[in-house]
């Protein structure tokens, strides 16, 4: 090799060595940094989080600048707490999780108008549908359920998802990153309602800033054009409607170096957990509701439901440790903490963690511990006739406050339903009956989205809306103390602020009473069209003045079938060129009376028989559909695709049209109720089942085994599923009744056994003494 070659080779070697050293040093530095993030130094305090805020472009935020961007958790919290690791946690990783874990509460898509209660989950839980399978994109899912999500997950989809669905508005709204403050904010400013509001305004990238009280956010991304981008800045042409979201930071919480003080908890406080995980009996007063016994004892949710940086939160069920590989989870099951046992009953952990007392379980036969989970006796409300209806944060939209009432009564969540879990132990569950429209192909059922059903149904699902339109129109000409109503059967219907009607009982009225439009004044309902003779000379002129007002008001009803008219004793009142016109009715209208619509010479009542019949039938119930409506909608759905079968599921039954076009009910696996185990609230020991003895459960008519569950759903029908509690346990009701009755004679049985034992034992003892005495020579043989 030449000298030049040797020099070149040497230089190359030195260069390679330098590169290698640099890479090695970087790797070592990264490893040290990684270790710094994940390894606890042993200090038990939470450091003050006075830190610079950074936006989604990783630029520092100067709060006093014009139009600063919202802070980004990825770049503000990420430098110390690896964002990618956190994102894989339980609350964020449903879309990508390999293991689904024990079933939890599914997301319930509820739509009252179409009677939809559709259980959804990205995790593969029995009874829940994959959102993708029902054509819900991450965008749809975020808008539906983002109100009770802590960001990330579907609200921060990968770029492939964003590109695959250009109709979504991610570029306008931004993505909702994992909202660290949703759980860790100690400040009382953390506002869950604000989070929900921002999500529904599509202000996803701003939501954490607003909800955390870091800054005030105005504007609505939902009103911006889909072409708007964050780099476009404020909309200079519109300061009223399509206002670009903007942040006004709370400058008082910044120091002179523009560092923001986050008041944080290492362990989230219970309030933060309960914002999304509250469950309360539906009709219980707040002051009388008790907290979980662990909370009362001073424990926090996060004391048991722990996690490391990966946020794989310990859920606390038996078998979780084996499933996740996290052996620590064994310590935080009921058995782990109180007995020191793992799921197999081995003494694998040290009991008494967090001061858990050892249960006595005096006199409880062993079979109970083999066949029942701890929660059967200790958790949820005690079994009562007809179960307990509860409302949950996620299902019933609890914890979101404002001018409007956000929470809903639907769906009906029932507990405690005792059913076998994956470990074949009976445990208490919450239950929801699904309800949805679906396309059925063989055994496959594909739920339809409410929008699809509504589009096909046309006016069938809008009777309340149509009646409300008429009533709302009439309110324009009512005095302050007057309210237009329609009276049908035993109910008086008045318009509500949601564009529907509210039904009130009409004491003393008959179900088949006449239908009339009226005015509610105080407690009285007066007819809209009073009984008078239009031909009389002494008629009250004020009546006709009001008729004119009514007709003018009715003329504003959007989509009215014709011109408004009022017929009184063969006199037709109508507006001609804005003035009241009276004329004699034609022969065709001889039977007409009251207010109505004149359509091509025919008189139509203000509301059709179908509308009134439908609204009256549903009045005073929670149901939102009648069988007639379901039959009509099924017919409408089938019209464009006659070879496809459409069904509706409600109350545990499947409904479809038979060959004659009539509605028939049947059974279908998809109509089965969806259940998920419950663990809280844990009751005090004295309120546990069995405290008062075996007959708490084992009696001829105990609610534990024999209370009946009736399928509930949006459809008003008698064709609903009915089941006894024991059927969910997979136990024979007859046997349990017989076994329960045996406890009537059990006290006598125990006395008999005791007497027999005393007799046999005494004689054995005597025989033994006798033999001993003989052997010793104390007793002479007779």
């Amino acid at each position: 090799m030449s000298r030049a070659g040797r020099l070149a080779l040497g230089a190359l070697g030195i260069a390679l060595a330098a590169v290698f050293a640099l890479v090695a040093s970087s790797a070592a530095s990264a490893a040290a940094q990684e270790a710094k993030r994940t390894i606890w130094d042993g200090n038990r305090t939470t450091p003050a989080h006075l830190i610079p805020l950074r936006d989604e472009n990783d630029e520092p935020i100067i709060p006093t600048e014009t139009d600063p961007l919202p802070y980004s958790a990825r770049f503000t919290c990420g430098p110390c707490h690896d964002y990618g690791t956190i994102r894989s946690g339980w609350h964020f990783g449903a879309m990508t999780a390999e293991k689904s874990g024990r079933p939890g509460e599914p997301w319930l898509q509820v739509d009252a108008k179409t009677g939809t209660i559709l259980p959804l989950s990205y995790r593969k839980w029995a009874g829940s549908y994959d959102p993708k399978a029902v054509r819900l994109t991450a965008w749809d899912f975020t808008l539906l359920f983002g109100r009770h999500m802590p960001g990330s997950g579907p609200a921060e989809p990968p770029d492939e998802e964003v590109l695959a669905h250009p109709e979504a508005r991610w570029n306008v709204s931004g993505k909702a990153e994992a909202n660290c403050l949703a759980c860790h904010n100690k400040s009382g400013r953390q506002d869950h309602s604000e989070w929900a509001k921002q999500v529904l305004r599509e202000n996803l990238r701003w939501a954490a800033t607003a909800a955390g009280g870091v800054g005030e956010v105005g504007g609505m991304a939902s009103r911006l054009k889909e072409t708007w981008d964050i780099i476009d800045g404020p909309n200079l042409d519109d300061h009223e409607w399509a206002v670009v979201p903007s942040v006004k930071y709370r400058t008082a919480d910044f120091d002179s170096k523009h560092r923001y003080f986050f008041d944080l908890n290492y362990q989230p406080s219970d309030d933060r957990c309960l914002a999304c995980h509250s469950v309360s009996p539906k009709d219980e007063a707040q002051w009388s509701a008790d907290a979980d016994v662990h909370s009362t004892a001073g424990l926090k949710c996060a004391d048991c439901h722990r996690n490391d940086l990966g946020h794989a939160i310990v859920r606390g069920y038996e078998g979780e440790a084996a499933e996740t590989g996290n052996r620590t989870a064994e310590s935080f099951t009921c058995r782990g903490c109180h007995l020191g046992e793992n799921a197999a009953g081995e003494k694998s952990v040290i009991p008494g963690r967090l001061g858990a007392p050892a249960p006595k379980h005096t006199g409880i036969p062993l079979v109970h511990f083999k066949r029942l989970s701890c929660t059967v006796c200790h958790s949820g409300p005690k079994p009562k006739e007809g179960f307990t209806r509860v409302r949950t944060s996620k299902a019933n939209r609890l914890g979101i406050y404002g001018v409007a009432t956000w929470s809903t009564d639907m769906p009906q969540v029932i507990e405690p339903v005792y059913a076998k879990d994956a470990g074949h132990k009976i445990s208490p569950h919450r239950l929801v009956w699904p309800a949805f429209w679906a396309k059925r192909t063989g055994k496959e059922v594909t739920p339809l989205q409410p929008a699809v059903v509504e589009a096909a149904a046309g006016d069938i699902l809008k009777p309340e809306e149509r009646i409300a339109q008429v009533l709302i129109a009439l309110t324009q000409v009512m005095a302050d103390d007057e309210m237009p109503v329609v009276v049908s059967g035993k109910f008086v219907f008045a318009p509500n602020v949601d564009g529907g009607v509210d039904a009130a009982d009409r004491p003393g009225a008959k179900a088949d009473g006449p239908v009339f439009w009226g005015i509610r004044k105080g407690g009285d309902v007066l007819p809209l069209v009073p009984d008078f003779d239009p031909a009389a000379a002494d008629k009250d002129p004020a009546v006709e003045t009001r008729f004119q007002e009514f007709l003018q008001a009715l003329g504003t009803v959007a989509g009215a079938p014709g011109r408004p008219v009022i017929v009184v004793k063969k006199t037709l009142y109508r507006l001609v060129d804005g003035s009241l016109d009276m004329s004699e009715v034609s022969a065709e209208l001889a039977e007409a009376a009251g207010p109505g619509w004149l359509v091509e010479g025919r008189f139509l009542p203000l509301a059709s028989d179908f509308d009134l019949r439908t609204v009256t039938a549903k009045a005073g119930t929670e149901q939102t559909l009648t069988e007639e409506q379901v039959a009509l909608v099924l017919g409408a759905l089938a019209k464009p695709a006659e070879d496809t079968e459409f069904i509706y599921i409600s109350g545990g039954r499947m409904f479809r049209l038979d060959k004659d076009g009539k509605l028939e009910a049947g059974e279908l696996a998809a109509a089965e109720p969806v259940t998920w185990p419950l663990a809280h609230n844990v009751r005090p020991a004295q309120q546990s089942l069995g405290w008062n003895g075996c007959t708490d459960c084992h009696s001829g008519g105990s609610n534990f085994f024999f209370t009946k569950l009736k399928g509930e759903g949006p459809l008003l029908t008698k064709a609903v599923e009915k089941r006894s509690a024991s059927s969910f346990m997979g136990l024979g009701g007859l046997f349990q009744r017989f076994f329960g009755l045996s406890f009537i004679v059990r006290p006598v049985f125990k006395v008999v056994l005791a007497v027999c034992a005393v007799v046999a034992g005494s004689l054995v003892f005597l025989a033994g003494l006798l033999a001993l005495g003989r052997l010793a020579g104390f007793l002479e043989k007779r």
Partner: protein, 228 residues
């Protein structure tokens, strides 16, 4: 699992012991040699032969005739029904208890369990009455013994088949007492989980003891009855 192994081994051992006792006391070839291996071979040959003979003779009709010939039916009414109660309940208790303990991982449950509990009550009551009125017939105690090394010599202990049968009776009664006790105590609000677990095992082993005692008793009694 341990209980199953102990049950199977002890039942087989006892069966072998009883049959060997019969072989030893009735067959001349048993004493034709002093070599244990030879004796064992002859015992096995005899056992095989008897098994074949018995299986050839066994039939529902033969069993029925055997049952009909039992002296039980000739007892006074009250006594007869008392024994029927005892034998019937014990047979059901043993069958249901051991079948579920050995073959069903879940253990006894459902209607068989309810039957087991009811039969248990009947068994305890019959046993108590029988031991009051019939226990005296099973008292046969040895003469006073003198303190010498001779007490350790089995040949001088006076162990006879009759005395073993009596001992089996009292073992059966004692096991019955323990069974009753271990069934009763878990039903009372006295024991915690470890106590319940202990009594559950105790109940099983008491049941095994009672079955083994019954086997000894019945085996020896049947042998006596069959003797010319």
């Amino acid at each position: 699992m341990l209980f199953t192994i102990i049950t199977v081994l002890s039942a087989l051992g006892l069966f072998a012991g009883l049959t060997f006792h019969r072989f030893w006391t009735t067959r001349e070839e048993a004493k034709s040699t002093i070599l244990y291996a030879e004796i064992f071979k002859k015992y096995l040959a005899w056992l095989a032969l008897r098994t074949i003979q018995s299986s050839r003779q066994a039939s529902p009709k033969a069993w029925w005739n055997y049952l009909k010939a039992l002296p039980l039916w000739r007892l006074p009414d009250l006594e007869k029904w008392l024994f029927i109660g005892l034998y019937g309940s014990f047979a059901y208790l043993a069958a249901s208890g051991f079948f579920f303990a050995i073959f069903v991982p879940r253990g006894l449950f459902g209607y068989p369990l309810v039957g087991h509990v009811m039969a248990g009550g009947l068994f305890a009551a019959c046993l108590a009455v029988i031991v009051i009125f019939k226990g005296r017939n099973f008292i046969s105690v040895p003469k006073p013994v003198n303190l010498s090394l001779a007490v350790l010599d089995p040949r001088k202990m006076g162990i006879t088949a009759a005395r073993v049968r009596f001992a089996a009776f009292w073992l059966f009664v004692a096991a019955g007492f323990l069974l009753t006790l271990s069934a009763l105590l878990p039903m009372l609000p006295l024991l915690r989980t470890p106590g319940q677990k202990f009594l559950f095992e105790f109940h099983r082993y008491s049941a095994l003891a009672s079955v083994l005692a019954a086997m000894i008793f019945v085996g020896l009694k049947a042998f006596d009855a069959a003797r010319p």
